[in-house]
Subunit: 151 residues, 2 copies
DNA sequence: TTTAATGCAAAAGATTTGCAACATG
DNA sequence: CATGTTGCAAATCTTTTGCATTAAA
């Protein structure tokens, strides 16, 4: 899935602006790495970005791709899906439930809500495939990481 | 966070029943590995389970923990959080949006909904920490994996 | 020209696999 | 007792890091 040209251009401009503001050098590699993520609607992983960028810059290295993706993430120019940088976590709670996840330490708490269990989805979603489960993920900062327990 | 004893016992019984039904041997290791996940409300990763189980079975190995966790997952006795077995994926879409994720191939599609952007959360969630973002994750099987495009 | 960024190679980390020894049903 | 399961060690795969070289501002 490709993002339309107009939107990609807009994202590129925002990226260049932020880099200039932050005093971050606009290298050939960074521009192409950002462009690949910006024009893809497929939420690629580091290796996929690497392969795509390599078509245009054959000498690019995988570690530069990793460094750049995390840099872009820290600059708020891109985001990670799900609980990033985390390993797979397991859960024996098989009841329908939802999650609060701390973006700092990864702490995850279950919560329940009949309202959320029954939320209506837009029809578009049905066109993607067969829906099996819907769950709400709340991201934030837990009490401990926020220093709330000290007050 | 610990799950209450009654619920843990219930989970253990279900686990033993499923194993018997499936002809899967109830080894000392499997029982303790399942017990650790069943009694933890912290959604541990493989290494955390390994450390906990090792306190009771000092000779247990990490690879047995991995094998067992995936077995339990395949049996539907436990689940993984987020897009399991997947690497970190990146997204340049910074607008508020939600995701449809195929549990088979990992395909991820964005969708939008004002209703979902503004869902009300139960008060309990606020007690976990500071809420920053709420997003809905729909899990299912995409058209291609379901073989829907062939019909 | 100055400083930050890259590529390389190696290290570190996480997860998986082959196989002989062992425990369960 | 037969077969599935374990532990070990090694392999594999992913991600990160140190450092000399190179390129951006």
């Amino acid at each position: 899935m490709k993002i339309r040209k107009k939107e990609v251009e807009h994202r590129m401009q925002h990226f260049e602006q932020v880099c200039r503001d932050e005093g971050i050098k606009l290298t050939h590699q960074r521009i192409e790495i950002f462009r690949e993520v910006a024009q893809s609607g497929d939420h690629p992983d580091a290796d996929q970005v690497f392969r795509l960028v390599r078509e245009r810059i054959p000498t690019v290295s995988l570690d530069t791709v990793y460094r750049t993706l995390w840099l872009l993430n820290d600059l708020g120019l891109i985001a990670t899906l799900g609980a990033s940088r985390e390993r797979t976590r397991f859960d024996a709670n098989l009841d329908i439930h939802h999650h609060f996840v701390c973006r700092q330490c990864g702490l995850t708490r279950d919560f329940y809500s009949n309202d959320l269990d029954n939320i209506a989805l837009p029809e578009t979603v049905g066109t993607f495939g067969e829906i099996e489960a819907t769950h709400v993920e709340v991201r934030g900062i837990c009490r401990e990481c926020a220093g709330m327990e000290k007050r």
